[in-house]
Each structure stands twice: as structure tokens, then as C-alpha cells.
Amino acid sequence: MSRDQSRSGGVDRREFLKWSAAAGLGTFGGLAQAQAGATLDVLLANALVGGPLKGILEKEANIKINDAPFQSSTDVVSRLVAPGGTGRFNLMMSHSIFSRGPILGEKAGAEKVSAVDLKRVPNFAQVADTFKSEIIDRDGKVYGVPVMWGYDSVLFNKDQVPENDAYTQSWGCIFEDKYAGKIGWFDTAHQMIMAAALYLGKAKPEQLDQNELNEIGKFLIAKKKNVRTLWTSFAQAENLLASGEIICTFGPIPVRYNLQKKNFPITNAWCKEGVLSFVQTAYIPKDSKNQEAAHAMMNAMLGKSYASQLSPVSGYLSASKLGAQDLSADERKRWGYGITEGTTRHYPLRMPPNLTNWIEVWSRVKSA
């Protein structure tokens, strides 16, 4: 009996365990809810289904969304490839840069996700040209669809760092001496070394050899004296900026967005070396039990209602052309759509093949 047959026809081990648990503990409602037909268990950045966004998707796709706690894109991919991971969630999303390999597997047939039935995702046609290269495909079949994108840049406090300061137009703001003692760094090897490499003029930071990595390590160690603190979570960065303990930092979108929402004078720089951009791809694990609803959700994420609300509600940007369609020029610039329009410089946050060496260099910087 094939896996499909066992799922649809008989009772397999997973079903047996599930119903055993339900029989024993049926008085508690949780499981009953999880069995509902159009309920989708999804694993993606929780901000993507925050506020009204969840309601929009639920209405458009006629589904109910259960979003699991999101830790990181790495965690999402790890959960997909772990034993039993292809049947845990109905829809997952992670950074496309390191999802492609694990999702597709080594050869055709080893894919961990289902091929997307594009007939069920008519809004696939709306994926902006900039992100077409991020579509995860093999042999003419699409396995991952770019849905959302964003960027990391420098965040600074407008009241204390003049917006026309040359440093605010560069990654230099978080390295150079001018704001010494008021600078925050993100405690992560990949992004911080990328930013430093861009600042130091490296054309392809993801291809740094060991000598160049050492050079960047020395630079970061020399500049570490200017740093007030290294933060590890977005909430920590928000608190540090809001309290004035730091006035400029390496910064992801949610930090800026949340602080602006609370009327803190925080904005981001459009670094002349390029902000670090990333794309998130949605995919349907191959043992997802509700493929139809997962397709519907994917389609809704590229649709106008969701795409146009994504930036105002979360700060992230839509990979759908419909996302920026009705925005004013000022809004497009403010949210960062200048990147797709070619007016704002960016550099994709690519994965270096020697990431272990990057982590070793970053550890050296931290312990120096």
C-alpha cells in the first residue's frame, strides 16, 4: 500500500495515534479544532499573519489559519527536513537563499515539498520580475513561490542623528567613531559580516576568502570599541533604541516598523553600499493534508487585498506586483519599493558556502 493509499483508505500509524489521543482526551477541545477541514497549520514569520492580515487571508482563501511560533528561517527548514517534518504543516515559509537545496533535495523525486499547481494559484502571474529568479523550480515544476521580501539596513534616531548626515547614508553609521558608545550591533555572523564587507567595498561578500574574512574580522574588532551592546532579539533592539541607550544600529524592518508605530523618531538609512535584501518563499510540504487550502492561501498571499496591506500592517513588502500598485510615490519610497524600482541600491543576503568560517570570525570579534 502506498503512503497515499494508506492515508486516504486505511488508518495509518499517525492517524491511529491521533485518534487514540482524541479518544482518551476528547473532552479537551484542542484536537477537535485541529481536525477541522479548512484549518491550515502554517509556519511562517508571525508578523505575516498579524493584525488584519490573518483575517484577509482567511476570508480570501476561505480557511482558518493556525500559525505556529516562528523562530527563524533556519528553524523552518530544519523542521521540514526532520523526521516526519513533511506532514507537520500545510504551508511553510523561509528565506529562499538557503531553502532551495533542502526543499528540492539532491535529485528529482527527492523533493520535500509538493509541486505547486499553478492553476490553483492564478496570482502566481503577479510575482514581480525582480523576484522571478527566486522561484524554486526543477524540471519545469514550481516548488517554492516568492511571497514576501524585506531588507536590513541601518536604523537611527532622527532626533540625535541628523538625517542629512553622510553616515546615515551608509553602513558607516554603525562602524565609525562619530556615534561611538551609542551603536548597537546584531549578534549574528552572517548579516554583520555582510554589512561590514559591503562597507569595505567588497563586491561579492558571500564569496569572501579566508584572508578577506580575517581582514573584516580585524576591522570589526577595531570598531568594537564604538559599540554599546550586541543585541540578539528584535524586542531587545527596540527597547535599546526606544530608551535611547543606542541611537543607531544594524536594523531589521520589524524593529523600525514597531517603533514608528509607537511614534518613536526612528527611521532607516538607504545605505549607499546597498541595503541587505532577502526574499521569503512559500512552499507546501509534500505530506500536507490540505493541499487545496494551502494553494488557496498561497494565492491569497499574492492577491491584491493581502499584498497591498502587507507593508502598512507589518512593514514587510509583497513580492506581488499588486502590493505597490496603489501606493503613492512617497509610500513606495518609504516602505522600500525603490529596491524593486531600481532607485534604491540593495544587495541580496546570499548564503556564503563557508558560513562556518564566518561564524568563527564573528566569535573572534565577540570575544576580542
Binding site: 495509518d12 500509524r13 499517525r14 495515534l17 491521533k18 489521543a21 482524541a22 482526551l25 479537551f28 484542542g30 484536537l31 485541529a34 497549520d41 502554517v42 508571525n46 508578523a47 493556525n66 500559525d67 505556529a68 511560533p69 523562530q71 526532520a82 523526521p83 516526519g84 517534518g85 507537520r88 504543516f89 532579539s233 528584535f234 524586542a235 527596540e238 527597547n239 526606544a242 530608551s243 520589524p254 514597531n258 517603533l259 509607537k262 518613536f264
Partner: protein, 270 residues
Amino acid sequence: MSTAKRNAMPWLLRGYAGMFYLFLYAPIALLLALSFNDSQVMGFPFKGATLKWYGEVFTDGRLLDSIVNSFAVGLVAALIATVLALLAAMGLRHSFPGRDAVIPLMLVPIITPGIVSGVLLYVSFGIAGVPYGLWTAVLAAHVSWVLPFAFLTIYPRLHRFDRSLEEAAMDLGATPVVVFRKVVLPLIRPGIIATLLFSFTLSFDEFIRTLFVAGSERTTPVYLWLLIVEQMAPFLPAVGVVIMLISVTVAALGFWVSGRAGKLAKQFER
């Protein structure tokens, strides 16, 4: 020892004790103060007193759901773990091959780091096909975590009281089931209640194993962790105070019942 040194010792001890309590309780006092701070920033300066963060706590639907989840799973995990611990403790009153290895084996979850347990549970549940969820993977994870503690709490209670009471009952014709119901259970009941409460507290606070196997469900610690990681939530100190009050109340109840159990058991100890 000179007189001067002898006179200084009590003061040094007082100073040490004072510092000990300061380090122990100052963060809690700080949390309490911050929970009333009318500021968007978690920290000082103090910008006036407010109760609005408590208002947010009690109107945050997802937080309330997570508290209900933690309560429910904590209750069931405590019940299962206590019953299993009681059965194990009863069994260990008899001799059988490998008896000496049972207790160390039962204590393995205590000495295994939480993150390692989380990964092990995640992988093994994946292989076994146990679905994510409160009443499947989370409950199993919590029982496996709580069981050794329940056993350690209940085992001494069961082994301390005078077994001649059981023998006397059997001499009078009571069956083993009747002896258990009429003699053993009443004597260890306070111990069982204390074990239940202790197990509940451990389950209620469990985070790392739950994070690995919870799927889309959120228990209170998982929800709190999300809040802490994702955004600056000024009502977090108020959440912390509420959660602490729940844990402290249950723990205090446990200590009280445990104290009663101790007094009662002493009367029948050999």
C-alpha cells in the same frame, strides 16, 4: 579566633544573607515596579503609575488562551505523572530483577539538558508519527519531564510509613485493594496532593521541550517567549507578575499540603 573577629562574624553573615536575598528578590521587586510603569519602554526612568498593562494582559485573547492551555495540559500531565509515579513507587516496594536500575533510569529526564530533550522528543515523535498538539506531543513531553519529579516526591512518602499497618489490615482480612484504599491512600493522600501541585507547577512553567513539539498551539511560556523575542511589549512585566502569582500560589499550596503530609506521616513512621 580573636574577639574582634568573633564580633565581626555575625555582621559578615548578616551582610552575606542580605546580599543573598537582594540578588534573589530584587529582580522580582523590579518586575513588580516595572509592571506599573507608565512607559512604552521596559525599563527606567519611572514615568508614573498605571494599571493599563494589567488591563492589556486580561484583554489579550491569545495570552488568555495560552494560560488556559497551560492550565489544562498542566492539570492532565500532573494527574498522569502522579498516577504513574505512584504505581512505580508501589512497584518498587517489591523485589524484582533490575530493581536497582529503575530509579536511576527514571531520573534520566532530570539530568538531560532541556534543549537535548526537546530535540530528542522532536525527532522521536517525528519517527513515531505523533502529531503536534497540546493533547498529543505536548502532553507526552510534559509527562516525561514531570514524572521523575513526581516520583521523587511520592517515593519517600510511600516508603516512610509503617508497613505493619498494612499487615495488620491484611491480618484482619482486607484484600490488597482494600488495604490500598482504606490504609495506604489516606496516609499518603497529602503527599499525592503535594505531588500533583508540584507536577502542575513544573508543567505550567515548561518551555523548551514544548517549543519543539507544540506545533501551532501556544502554552504560556511559549507565548511569553514570542512576545519577548518579537517586539518590545511594555505589558510584559505585568504578564510576568500574573504568571508568577499563579506559580507561587500553586507552589505555596503544594508546600502547605506537603507540610501537612509530613506531620501526618511522622505519626505512622517506623
